[in-house]
Symmetry: C2
Subunit: 336 residues, 2 copies
DNA sequence: AATCGTAACATTAACGTTTATGTTACATAA
DNA sequence: TTATGTAACATAAACGTTAATGTTACGATT
């Protein structure tokens, strides 16, 4: 585009040395004398040389690129996680590719497969909720360095970064019970995934620990349409009169508040509400919402660090589960 | 990793034809007979062949990759924009690289420069707020297909996707005036960028149109610390008693609500508040917040479409400004 | 029948690196 | 002295594509 592209051949010609020497000098090889290295470095800087990534990748099988595969970018949790990932990648001089699956396992697999031809050095993924597809990943982890975060598959030979879903869910349920709730509805999301099931178990076990019978009727499953969720929640109230709402995913918050508003139920007087959430404005809601907040940024940070650990050690038959703690932030919506 | 890598050489051997024929068949060249193409395609599918991106890129100078450079991923506006970009990219079979500048122009330029060696086919960018650096981009747009969105530099020979900042700002100010406000404070962000200045002008001109004197004292500049902003807003109230707040960036919302809460000012009785924002929970705030909402997803969508227009036409000395409309959503925070 | 055009392939040279394998010159060891 | 080791470079072969150029066979044209 500008004048002739500057590559190592050009540098070699100008310095009257071989291109191999230039390459090794640029890579700071021990084979090259300090004097020659400096000549190369100086000229490279003067001519504003940057190596061609395609050529380098083709030859060395290193791409300096990782991929992040997630359900949705426009989500408080995932955008924070990406932020964490991106920071670690930048420190390592790596590039970050983003793919959105829209909770569609088929698309997830399609994206993943498109990365197996050497486009990336590794993959960070948070799996889709619409299906549980352990088999695919069982093979995949053998083919490419892969780290799961938050939404993981179990018993796979790789790194998994999660949060203490069970414990935080138990604690949150206990908090509702402590506030006097007797009939706590559970708004169920991520049902097919370990994360969702752990949250559900925490809820169930907290009830059991307090000798409260589990009531199937108080479980509401997530639908993709916001209005549908509002309707469902209203129906739940009309039929079963819960005095507490435990929302296991952020997507239920707006429907819950809208339903309460529609039915003139006041939070927390008539019903106490809490939810898993990374909503920064939770404290400004009407009323301020009690949340179980996952350390989204840290999860991304940690996941990326694990991936680079694999990339540096080569041996990616390592397995490790890292569990970070979520925080229960008590606010007005669960005031006693 | 698995068995021998499957490449076109392997396909050629198995089919007993030349690698050139395989390559052309895979690319559906007119030179190859239908029969041969089918043999190649069938075997390629059978062996699960996917072309090596590095080799293809090295030879053809096409990367099937675009870069998105933005200040921050964990931001409602930008994450929605990315979502729009990613969708268009997927339709075109392109990959998307993400870079965060953290509002730092130096990092922005560093990222951008690292992409000029053929790593991407084009760049989408929303520039940092900490500096106005037209010069750099004046050269850049000649070197690489580039599309600006939302935060643009003016008078550059390329595509720019923006929103009607001036008009929506004017309308929002008019709305506050219509609700009876006499002293409207302006919370100023993006001051160095055309977007921020247009919002400010819209505010000023609306005042002028209503024969209200502009008061420098009612302007508050954004600080990076949330608490600092809270303090500043409280001070603003104590010293100048505004009856309306026009926040030109989303980041002022929480500080504004907190300041009002701290000072026991009730919205909208004591002061009416509105803000530029893509906060999905705006309607659930206490009180529900009137917003000027930018079509973030559409902006990303449109920006990506423009970039692909450039990539397909080759001629990227085209210039075009596309202006999308923001929406003023009136809610309780500006009730009369 | 000789010529030409062209469909359908093959040969081969890139693209810009990295790296395995030479090749020197010179210091050191035997 | 000769052999040996090694520092510091050069040569050349990959990596897996694409594309410019060659080749062949065969039907159409004159």
């Amino acid at each position: 585009m500008a004048s002739d592209q500057v590559n190592i051949k050009r540098l070699a010609q100008e310095l009257n040395i071989s291109i191999a020497t230039v390459s090794k000098a640029l890579n700071d090889s021990y084979e090259i004398s300090a004097k020659t290295k400096n000549r190369v470095w100086d000229l490279a800087k003067a001519l504003n040389y940057t190596p061609n990534p395609a050529a380098s990748n083709l030859r060395s099988h290193k791409t300096k690129t990782i991929a992040v595969i997630i359900p949705d970018v426009a989500n408080n949790f995932f955008s924070l996680a990406i932020k964490g990932i991106e920071e670690v990648a930048r420190i390592h001089g790596y590039h970050v590719l983003i793919y959105q699956t829209h909770e569609d396992t088929e698309m997830e697999i399609s994206f993943t497969n498109s990365l197996l031809n050497g486009r990336v050095d590794g993959i960070l993924t948070s799996v889709s909720s619409n299906e549980y597809n352990n088999d695919y990943y069982r093979d995949l982890v053998k083919k490419v360095p892969l780290v799961f975060f938050d939404r993981v598959y179990e018993s796979l030979q790789t790194f998994k970064i999660t949060t203490d879903d069970y414990e935080s869910s138990f604690a949150a349920t206990q908090h509702l019970l402590d506030c006097g709730c007797k009939k706590i509805a559970f708004l169920f999301g991520l049902e097919k995934l370990p994360a969702g099931r752990a949250r559900f178990s925490g809820y169930q076990d907290a009830l059991k620990a307090n000798e409260i019978d589990f009531d199937e009727q108080l479980i509401l499953h997530y639908e993709n349409l916001e209005e549908q969720n509002v309707d469902n929640i209203e129906q739940l109230f009309q039929q079963h009169h819960p005095d507490g709402i435990f929302s296991s995913i952020e997507e239920f918050i707006i429907p819950t508040y809208l339903a309460c508003r529609n039915m003139s139920l006041s939070i927390p007087q008539d019903v106490k509400v809490l939810s898993f959430s990374n909503l920064s404005s939770a404290k400004l809601l009407n009323p301020a919402l009690t949340t179980i907040t996952q350390p989204a940024f840290d999860i991304g940070h940690e996941a990326a660090k694990c991936l680079f650990k694999i990339l540096n050690n080569k041996g990616f038959d390592d397995e490790q589960n890292i569990v970070l703690k979520s925080t229960l932030i008590k606010r007005t919506s669960t005031n006693c």
